[in-house]
């Protein structure tokens, strides 16, 4: 009896202390300090490096000008390379985006509107290239199209279908960017009011015309958002591009290679230009996306009726799926097949030393130890980054979601999106620049700097969905809680958090996956330690393909598992 009573007493004391602490934290001044802290951390980790880079470019303009335009030996050769690489990057991104729309929109339509066996599997497969590290994806695509192991076997050729270069870069980029288009419009198509389509049906419009004039204009904003993401991802991608580019260097690849040669001033300038281009794209889309109409009001009744026939629809669906499988799915997973081909010997010469078993487990350079070490580093970084990012991103998401000043809210909202569109190698470089010897001189490249770099590019991936989760919680629950006497922080703990649980898990997995798979920023900030996507690039460059295939397969398996967990969590959220 007395034990029982003492327990109750302790419980009461603890609860009262907690409530008192929470009510102290809910004080206006304390909350304001919290808000300021949240924004400060955001500026320090995400915006700071970019601003610092900008500042340094202006302050050290003379030095940069000499290095870029008037080098005593090279003249303006550096600038020429720079322009060429940016031109190539933009050209590739544009072509890739067009393909993304051609492949991505019909697949989104199929996934949203048709019911068939295996739809769920197709849905997962479409998302997969977003989760798989691009270096693994690029390697697999290179093996499929660019070597004599893949497609060229079908017609018994000794060389690949295409060599490293623009073509291969485009093939690789389409594979991992088209899901951004599909994903950003699939949900919107599913939520469209079918009544509108039925109404236009009764007025005599054929399905194709309805899709074009009624449904597509409504998904316009989603489509633009997806397109811009696809474009910027293509523009800024490093991991896959390093593998498939050969001598044709895109801008992010140039950043990495200059950085390796420690050409700091020129790298700074190129990173700066890439950042400016991405920011211009982001803001112009934010400003103009709503104003751009789809000015296609002419109807071609006969032609469109033909396009709407069942036969054409079936062909179109078939072709989109075929494109998906031939250009995305098979090349993306080809590396696994390759791994089995080269398991213990070369399929061509039969040489066991060219096989995976020898290269990974038996060769004197102890690749297995490297792989294990890199895997552990990758997992450690991903875990730490996820924890830090969740802790600093949640208050930011709450702040943005609850903000009443519409203008300020829109401004913060745009700021948060910045790391999404900036090439990660440029972002990584600016972090190196701010924190390293050229800036505050706190860190040198290595584990800590990698963590800061990863936090800064995963931040947006974490904040964005959390804002959505906060917005989805009806305000009446907050109000009810405070009416019954709970302070703001108590309300957050007892009411908001339970609603947020699945959203938090989903954001954490997204962050973890992104951190696991990033290459560009990691290469710049890494020092001597390797993460597994970077190790894969190293193996590739050392031409030990079977070992690279082994590392790629591990990466693919891990990301696949994460993706499936993520999907089950988000589906549960929807059902609730």
């Amino acid at each position: 009896m007395t034990v029982e009573k003492r327990k109750l007493d302790i419980e009461l004391k603890l609860r009262r202390t907690l409530l008192a602490a929470e009510s102290w934290l809910s004080k206006k001044t304390v909350l304001s300090i919290g808000k300021i802290l949240t924004v400060t951390i955001f500026i320090l980790i995400v915006l700071g490096p970019i601003l610092y880079l900008l500042l340094q470019i202006i302050v050290n303009w003379k030095e940069i000008q000499t290095a870029v335009f008037n080098d005593p030996i090279l003249g303006n050769e550096t600038f020429t390379i720079m322009l060429k690489s940016i031109g190539l990057s933009l050209k590739i991104a544009a072509i890739v985006t067009v393909f993304d729309i051609i492949v991505g929109v019909p697949i989104a339509w199929i996934l949203a509107r048709y019911n068939f066996k295996g739809k769920n599997i197709l849905d997962t497969l479409v998302d997969m290239p977003m989760a798989v590290p691009t270096s693994a994806l690029g390697f697999s695509i290179y093996l499929f199209w660019g070597t004599n192991n893949g497609i060229s076997r079908l017609y018994n050729s000794q060389v690949g279908f295409t060599s490293q270069g623009t073509m291969l870069i485009i093939l690789a980029h389409v594979a991992f960017t088209f899901p951004y288009v599909t994903r950003s419009i699939k949900g919107i198509i599913m939520d469209l009011d079918l009544k509108l389509e039925k109404a236009s049906r009764t007025l005599g419009a054929p399905p194709f015309t309805i899709a074009r004039m009624i449904s597509l204009p409504m998904v316009k904003e989603g489509l633009i958002a997806g397109t811009i993401l696809a474009f910027t991802r293509s523009l800024g991608e490093t991991g896959a591009t390093l593998i498939v580019s050969g001598v044709y260097q895109t801008a992010p690849v140039v950043i990495v290679s200059w950085m390796k040669g420690l050409k700091i001033p020129t790298t700074a300038f190129l990173a700066f230009i890439l950042i400016i281009i991405s920011l211009l794209l982001l803001t112009s889309v934010r400003i103009f996306a709503r104003k751009v109409g789809l000015p296609w009001n002419t109807v071609f009744p006969r032609f469109e009726r033909k396009l709407s026939s069942k036969k054409v629809a079936r062909t179109r669906n078939g072709v989109s799926l075929l494109l998906f499988f031939v250009f995305v799915f098979i090349p993306a997973l080809f590396v696994i097949l390759f791994l089995f081909q080269w398991w213990n010997k070369s399929p061509f010469s039969g040489d066991p030393q060219a096989g995976m078993i020898y290269q990974v487990f038996q060769a004197p350079d102890r690749k297995l130890a490297d792989i294990t070490q890199a895997l552990v580093t990758s997992l450690e970084i991903a875990l730490i980054v996820t924890i830090i990012t969740i802790i600093i991103a949640t208050p930011m998401a709450l702040l943005i979601s609850k903000m009443k000043n519409k203008k300020l809210k829109g401004f913060l909202d745009t700021l948060v999106d910045i790391p999404l569109v900036i090439p990660s190698s440029a972002l990584g470089f600016s972090i190196f620049f701010l924190w390293g010897t050229n800036g505050m001189h706190i860190l040198s490249p290595g584990f800590m700097m990698m963590i800061i770099a990863h936090v800064s590019f995963t931040y947006a991936y974490c904040v964005r969905p959390l804002i959505g989760s906060f917005d989805a919680i009806p305000t009446m629950y907050d109000e009810a809680s405070s009416v019954f006497g709970a302070s703001k922080i108590t309300t957050f703990r007892t009411v908001t958090m339970p609603f947020l649980r699945n959203g938090l898990i989903a954001a954490a997995i997204m962050t973890f996956t992104r951190s696991m798979s990033e290459t560009g920023a990691t290469i710049i900030c890494m020092g001597t330690e390797r993460t597994i996507p970077v190790l894969l690039v190293d193996f590739f460059e050392a031409s030990t393909f079977p070992a690279a295939a082994f590392a790629a397969t591990i990466l693919i398996v891990i990301s696949f598992i994460l993706l499936i967990v993520l999907r089950s969590v988000t589906r549960r959220t929807k059902n609730e």
Binding site: L8, P474, A480, V483, P498
Partner: protein, 373 residues
């Protein structure tokens, strides 16, 4: 004691939107008050001002002589029933009801007693372990009320609390709610768009329009003696006859409407002034007249001649539309079982009960803008 006093309260949203304008009234302890008015009239804003989710721009609110401006929501000790109940979906019914005392730091034993008592008085004891998802709307409603009781609030704010219930259950709940509030001696403020509900449930009703108080009074006051045009228009249904006071005696005045003179209750309007006479549609009596009778006005009957232009069946009532001599169209609501059958083109006389006719000064801005919502 929980007396609520509004003193010249004004709430402005943004820069211009005056949601509530110079609102002053007193709610007595233990009173059941309803706020009604067209949408956007400021009734929900008034409730939110009471709850403390928003603060007045001008003026003060007192609970028992304590000014509320520096007292935050969680310290006001009010109970709030939301339109959609806001039952926390991740807590069991028991946990929902225990929420108030537990976040206020009450001891476990106190919490248990309070929750058991609240659940018992709402007949929810057997549902305590269930989660909201397995309950019905009326049970959510009860949970919301139990949660208020357990929080020991003395003031109960209800925002369209019955809006999400079916008509039948709603009527049962009106009685239930009133009895509960009276039994627990709470002061209740109830916002609704349903006049019948307000008239059934409350001790007094506050009618609001455009952020201002139109009339506050008992249900019978509002229904039978509205004290301005808007109140008589908004509560129930009225028709308005425009005329001039031609004579005023002690109890009744005579008003000239068109070419006819009718006798109405004297409400202190001087001779020669234009008046608006408001009459409830249910209070008109109609009689058929023959063609010879048509021109002869029987002053004893206090009536106006007219012609039936439409006869409509409404269920328990019939609506008869009549065009008066001055071309104005009025509607009379009579019992559906009325033995006389009125049809189009029938000549009728509309008999007016002088005691239930209310007359007001003709508004400067005209009738239409006086009735604008």
């Amino acid at each position: 004691m929980s007396e609520i006093h509004f003193k010249h309260v004004t709430k402005i949203f943004g820069r211009k939107v005056e949601a509530v304008k110079d609102l002053s009234f007193i709610i007595e302890d233990g009173e059941y008050i309803s706020l009604i008015g067209p949408s956007g009239c400021g009734k929900t804003t008034t409730l939110r001002l009471l709850a403390g989710t928003i603060m007045p721009t001008k003026g003060r609110i007192f609970f028992d002589n304590t000014a509320m401006e520096n007292i935050s929501i969680q310290d006001r000790n009010i109970g709030f029933v939301f339109q959609h109940f806001a039952i926390f979906p991740h807590m069991s019914i028991w946990e929902n009801v225990a929420y108030g005392p537990s976040v206020r730091g009450r001891s476990k034993i106190d919490i248990e007693n309070l929750v058991e008592k609240a659940l018992k008085s709402l007949q929810l004891s057997d549902k305590a372990e269930l989660y909201p998802i397995s309950l019905s709307a009326p049970e959510w409603q009860k949970t919301a009320l139990a949660r208020v009781l357990a929080s020991e609030a003395r003031i109960l704010l209800l925002d369209e609390p019955l809006g999400a219930l079916d008509q039948k259950i709603r009527e049962e709940f009106q009685v239930f709610l009133r009895n509960l509030v009276k039994k627990e001696r709470l002061t209740a403020i109830h916002v609704t768009h349903d006049q019948a509900e307000a008239l059934t449930i409350s001790d007094r009703v506050v009618v609001m329009n455009k952020g201002q108080l139109v009339q506050i009074g008992s249900p019978t006051d509002l229904l039978f003696t509205p004290n301005n045009i808007f109140a008589s228009f908004f509560v129930g249904e009225s028709d308005f006859l425009v005329g001039v006071v031609v004579d005023d005696r002690e109890k009744y005045s005579e008003v000239k409407v068109g070419n006819n003179i009718i006798k109405v209750k004297n409400m202190g309007i001087e001779r020669g002034k234009r008046v608006v006479v408001a009459i409830r549609r249910e209070f008109f009596q109609i009689e058929k007249v023959s063609v010879e009778d048509k021109t002869r006005q029987d002053s004893k009957l206090n009536s106006l001649p007219g012609v039936v232009i439409q006869d409509q069946f409404l269920g328990l009532l019939k609506r008869i539309k009549i065009k008066l001599e001055n071309q104005q169209i009025i509607e009379a609501k009579i019992h559906a079982k009325n033995p006389i059958h009125f049809k189009e083109h029938d000549n009728v006389r509309v008999i007016i009960d002088p005691d239930s006719a209310r007359s007001f000064n003709y508004p400067k801005e005209g009738i239409v803008s006086a009735l604008e919502m």
